[in-house]
Amino acid sequence: MTTVLTPAETAAPAKPPTPVTMAAALNAALADSLAADDRVVVFGEDVGTLGGVFRVTDGLASRFGEQRVFDTPLAEAGIVGTAIGMAMNGLVPVVEMQFDAFAYPAFEQVTSHLAKLRNRTRGRLALPVVIRVPFGGGIGGVEHHSDSSEAYYTHTPGLRVVTPGTPADAYRLLRQAINCPDPVLFLEPKRRYWSKETAALSVDGPSIDRAVVRRAGKDVTLIAYGGMVATALEAASAALEEGWDVEVIDLRSLSPFDDHTLTESVRRTGRAVIVHEAAGFAGYGAEVAARLTEQCFHYLEAPILRVTGFDIPYPPPHLEKFHLPSTDRILDAIARLQWEGDNA
């Protein structure tokens, strides 16, 4: 059963640990940000009366009023473009793109304006805008509902791109994103919206630009983000039975990249696997592998491997299980890391 935090609960700074879904944690983060800062406005398609197609904005319009939480016409460039103007005039817009692939009409506004206006005005114009994008597959969605579009955004200087892997971190990261003076592309792993964690929601903890070690280990560094963090943790548990002690790192911030946490881990373990749902070719994992190779080459016992989706358009619901990285594929990759005694 879904636990939705009531406004009264979210208003208190110290909260007891409660079972909470990622969707509810995001809802609480939005509610607390709206309560804490009058400049925050939340808008997008269906985010008002309906509370969003994933109910992440549930109850916000009635609690904070239509001046602060409102529906817009169906036009993504319009949503991001007007958010830019609102931020220029003192507001902190938090907008929703309904699904990953539906965010593409806003691409020009994101890349040419949102990401660049600070630079284009020599630092005079700051745009503290957050764009929430439910992303990735694993929910049986039809076409255009399961894209992993992170690499389009991480290739854009001036944007921050973050994605949470757990409910508690979803709360923390979203609040940090809303407080951040830079524009933030906030990718929500929609397959984990209903995953539960017993946690006390708090904004304190690792900062917006840091990766975190979700499971300490000494043999392999397994790098994941968003929806793949839970899969990586499952793979790490299974790997233990095979005799590998796997360290799992949740990147959180895809841009900027936390070189420090990653190189420290990979230099210690000497082996690394990066996992993501997106197609491998020119995907985010390529950047991670290249960076870590440059920074850790003399510590590596094996090439850095990638476990990714195939280089195909996202498949239909009944075939997506063949496309998505699974614990088995991750274990296979770990097995190929040139262990002592291997003849391969």
Partner: protein, 374 residues
């Protein structure tokens, strides 16, 4: 009479349509126009100021074009011929209002008070817009056309949400009305009743593409009705009409009446930029026809005929324009010292660790070049 009932409001649909002919307050011959509609002739001191700013703006425009030939500007898109739109629209703004210009609106930008060398920074080849948008309430000049329409609507809506008495004026051209962002902006503005004025300077061409290949609409102003946005069609070479129309739009917006779309019929006398050859797509007779309809000559004729401008004042103004151009020339002839290290400074609020490393690497590289190993 056609009426539309929507959202509980009844609108007379025809009230959203522009007039059949462009509204004119001062005709081509400098005599009062016969098609003024609801526009009111500005007061004499406003007319004199419109004239003065057009003369200064024209001189600036000529100077900027000359600077491209001397290699001081990378490129300059002239607005010669559109002087009445550039000046009339900006003078209609109140101090607290915002201007959202495009790359062809440098005259509008300097008319708003931005120093010429700051307005020309980007065209000179710098990496930033040159001026502080908040100081003048002028957004950076927009290069990807029509994208600024949405920024203007957002800024205007934010003003309304915060109960600020502030209106946004966005400048766009005939070509930009084909971009999706313009339609989204008109639609958002209509739905939100955002205090924004859209001024379309219809100069006949989008670089080389004539209006007939751009749209099948009877007029660009007519597009407003599709978004519930009232529109005006005006003579864009009549500074009095531009001033009066934009002023009416601003007052309407400030009173909570929502957005206005204005189409001003004008002409781009020069090529798209100094890098363009306009003879490839338009006849010289067409250009000469429009030279006859010069916006400055028209207002000069009106002011002279009405005792508002004598020869002494005219030559005084000419001298002021020369001094202004001299100043621009001098300041633009100073070499720019752009610091490559600053390229990393404003990408984020604080440079990331990776950007710090890249900046250090670039600086080390530059130092090596300066001090070659002996």
């Amino acid at each position: 009479m056609t009426t539309l009932t929507h959202r509980g409001e009844t609108t007379d649909a025809t009230s959203l349509l522009p007039s059949a002919e462009p509204l004119t307050l001062i005709g081509q011959d400098g005599k009062p126009g016969e098609q003024g509609g609801r526009l009111t002739l500005p007061a004499p001191d406003v007319l004199r100021e419109l004239h003065r700013r057009m003369v200064l703006g024209r001189r600036f425009d000529t100077q900027a074009s000359a600077l491209t030939k001397q290699g001081r500007l990378a490129v300059y898109p002239s607005s010669r011929g559109q002087d009445a739109c550039q000046v009339g629209a900006v003078l209609a703004l109140r101090d607290q209002d915002w201007l959202f210009p495009t790359y062809r609106d440098s005259v509008a930008v300097i008319t708003r008070g931005v120093p010429a060398e700051e307005a020309l920074a980007l065209l000179r080849g710098d990496w930033h817009c040159g001026y502080d948008p908040y100081r003048y309430r002028v957004a950076p000049q927009c290069t990807p056309l029509a994208t600024n329409t949405l920024h203007a609507v957002g800024l205007a809506h934010a003003a309304r949400l915060q109960a600020k008495d502030q209106v946004a004026l966005v400048l766009l051209g005939d070509g930009a009305t084909s971009e999706g962002d313009t339609h989204e902006a008109l639609n958002f503005a209509g739905v939100w009743k955002a205090p924004v004025v859209f001024l379309v300077q219809n100069n006949g061409y989008a670089i080389s593409v004539p209006l007939a290949k751009q749209t099948a609409a009877p007029t660009l102003a007519a597009k407003g009705i599709g978004y519930g946005v009232p529109s005006l069609l005006i003579d864009g070479n009549d500074a009095a009409a531009v001033y009066s129309a934009v002023r009416a739009g601003i007052e309407r917006a400030a009173d909570g009446g929502g957005p206005t779309l204005i189409e001003a019929i004008t002409y781009r006398i020069e090529a798209h930029t100094n890098a363009d050859d306009a003879t490839r797509y338009r006849a010289s007779e067409e250009v000469s026809d429009w030279l006859e309809r010069d916006p400055i000559a028209r207002l000069t004729a009106y002011l002279s005929a009405n005792g508002l401008l004598d020869d002494a004042a005219a030559s005084q103004l000419a001298a002021e324009a020369e001094r202004f151009a001299d100043g621009v020339r001098q300041r633009m002839n100073e070499d720019v010292s752009a610091d490559p290290a600053e390229l990393f400074e404003h990408v984020y609020a604080h440079p990331t660790a990776a950007l710090e490393r890249q900046r250090a690497a670039l600086l080390a590289e530059l130092q090596e070049q300066e001090e070659p190993a002996s």
